[in-house]
């Protein structure tokens, strides 16, 4: 291995790939300031997240009034209004629901290649950080890692976490994940949605190195289940800039095993960069058309920067 590549990999390991451990308490204090943006997403169970345009009989914040109807709880009749208007009115309150968070993690082999990029490690840490922020709002979280093996679609699910105290259980879940096989975003999400019917918010964390119809199908499945979806596109630095890669190459696809022989010239490098940018832009455009949030993160960005700058800029998070 050339010395430059070795150094690149060494520095990538030291400074990149989300060096912050999401299970590090030091990171918790920074994540405590953040919360997820839900927009129209909400679950069916009562929770702590106020949901606008949705009322309930009991609560704290009055949302509206309605005429009394037989069967309404008489405790919520507004007697002051009856005195002034001589009409029976009952108060309606802002509904507070829990927002189930579904995090889909692409566990295909491409997420581990190039190894210097540590895309999968970064994706796991990002998923953990998102889970922490969700649990901080007492919203339930489940992480599902999907990939396609020779035996079929493999879907590894974490337990549904409802409390921040269960957060460290994710550590064991992540330790059991190993990227391999082909990308199975659409099939994995379909299988997940067959098992779990809670509405809420879905994050898809992947490098999206599949034909467009695959991830388009995955987004369509999420929207058909009335889930608000966000796509987080993980890009590796080496994969993007081909740092330290030149000359005659025998390249092998990490998922399909197909081999090509190329000679990487300066012109080829330019064409590669152009194709890469075009592909990322195509994914963003598709998300925009489909009503799916889109954020592009570099795997050597820190988790802190990603959670406090990139995802808020993409409209997925906000300060409390």
């Amino acid at each position: 291995m050339p010395a430059v590549a070795r150094l690149t990999r060494l520095f990538a390991r030291r400074a990149g790939a989300g060096d912050e451990d999401p299970f590090d308490p030091a990171l918790f204090s920074r994540l405590d300031r953040m919360r997820l943006r839900f927009d129209n997403a909400h679950g069916a169970r009562a929770g702590e997240t106020p949901v606008r345009r949705l009322t309930q009989e009991s609560g704290i914040e009055v949302e509206s009034f309605k005429s009394y109807a037989p069967g309404d709880d008489i405790r919520y009749v507004d007697w002051n209004a009856v005195g002034r208007l001589d009409q029976l009115l009952t108060r309606r309150f802002v509904a507070e629901r829990e927002i189930p968070i579904h995090i889909f993690l692409d566990a295909s082999a491409s997420m581990a290649v190039p190894t210097a990029d540590h895309k999968f490690t970064f994706a796991m840490r990002l998923a953990a950080a998102l889970a922490y922020v969700a649990l901080n709002s007492n919203d339930p979280v489940r992480i599902a890692a999907t990939r396609l093996e020779t035996g079929g679609v493999q879907l590894a699910e974490s337990p549904l976490l409802r409390h921040r105290g269960r957060y460290l259980r994710l550590k064991g879940f992540f330790e059991g994940l190993k990227p391999s096989g082909a990308t199975a975003l659409s099939e994995g999400i379909a299988r997940y949605l067959e098992r779990h019917h809670e509405r809420g918010l879905a994050f898809v964390i992947s490098d999206f190195l599949v034909p467009p119809d695959i991830y388009e199908s995955a987004f369509a499945r999420l929207r058909s289940k009335r889930l608000v979806a966000h796509a987080v596109h993980v890009i590796g630095k080496v994969e993007h800039g081909l740092d330290g890669i030149s000359g005659r190459l025998r390249i092998r696809d990490s998922e399909s095993g197909v081999v090509r022989e190329v000679s990487l010239s300066t012109a080829d490098r330019r064409r590669y960069s152009a194709a890469f940018a075009q592909r990322a832009e195509a994914i963003r455009a598709l998300c925009h058309r489909s009503g799916v949030g889109y954020a592009r993160v570099m795997s050597d960005d820190g988790i802190d920067r990603c959670m406090t700058q990139v995802l808020p800029a993409a409209g997925m998070m906000r300060l409390r």
Partner: protein, 507 residues
Amino acid sequence: MGLLAPYGLASLAFLGVLVVLHLRRRQQRELEVSSLLLWQAVRDEPRRGRFRPSLLFALQVALLGALGLAVARPYWEERAAAVTNGRTVLVFDVSASMQAFEGGERRFDQARRKAGEVLASLDRNVEVMMIAVAAHPRVVVSFTRDRSALARALEALEPNDGPTRLSLGVELARSTATGGGSLEIDVFTDLPSEAIGVSPSAGERLRYFRFGRSDDNVALAALRVYQNPFQDPQEARGYALVKNYAREPKDLTLHVTLASRPVLDDTLHLGGRESRVVAIPKLGDSGRLEAWLDVQVSRQLRPLEALAAAAADPANSAGVRAIAAMLADAGGLLPRRAVLGAISQLEQADRQALHKLRLRLGPLDVYVDSLLKPAAQYWRAALLSVRSGQGMPALPKPGAATLAADVDPRGAALAYRRVGRTWLRIDLADRLASHARKVRSAGGDSPVDVALATSIGLDEAAIDQLMGDVGFTRAGDAWRWRGRRPPRDDRRGAASHAFAELAKLKR
């Protein structure tokens, strides 16, 4: 070429190491990529094999090769220049045809320049002989290695008015160079090689340097008079040899005069390369025998012929005929004051008739512009020298605007006007004088065309002289018109043309 240390070539084995390093550098590298989707834009490697030399590799090979060769210490084997016995003979055609002008230069001058180049290219040890061939060959410089002597002889060599027999010159060169080693004969002529009729012999190199764009040349090659010692001199007979050097047949007229009296006007038709001896019937008298062909005269001096014809044409007015006759007699150029009287009598129609003859009635001179050209000058000089019985004057350098005072006045007067200490070309003097006259007509006060005078290089004295001839005199920084001085009567006596002689008789 040899090597002082041939074992040093073993160092070239490093070339193999270089190739191995290059191949190793070009070795294919295995790389696992996340997906080939991103690599679709990258072209497959062309199947040209593993070894693809680059410019850098070529430079490295060249450097290593040069170093390896240097270690082997190569040397170049060169034999010292031996004293050669080679001999070169330069044979010059100095016949009359070599005087022909082409491109403002004589053929002989072109030959002289080429001979100089040949001399410069010869090895110092080669002996050179120079032969000039007219009717008979003549050794100008015998075999020598002294290049300066050869150059001096080359500069002094001039063509004459006779014919040439180049074959004799080549034979002379062969006979004088026998037993002297290899021989090279360089012939400088305007004749085609087949017309010379000489082929190279064994051990000899014969080169022809031919000058002249064409061989369209007809010459009066010889004019001789034979008289039997026991005959009365009046019984002497003359012979003229006329040669057609052209491939095409020619029609020409031979004119022979004895003491200015025509004795023969013979029209000849000569086939290609044909020579003919024309007998002059009987001379019958003593005197200067002159002969000429009208071919060159009619070609080069056609305006002069037109003037002579106009002078004899009764359809023209007396004034036109007088001016045409005087100009034809003077060779196509006269000062205006010499024909001032005739000019004053001209009507408008007469001026148009003179204009058709290309005659320019300038403020200072009356002349035909085309007769001022170098080739016409040459033939005008030839005619005038025949008439005056003097030799050919030295002609000025073609195209010069001014001439120094020390040139041959006979040659300069053919196309130049004396202005102070210099000679100014007639047409330029005419332009300056015309400008002055126009300025005066327009009421201007600066009659001198300063730009033209400066570009020509006229000094103050010359300008003063010229403007004085036009009719101006300097008054401080300005010029004042004082008018042209009428011709003095005593100058009439100096004229030599027909009307002047007539005036003398009347007096």
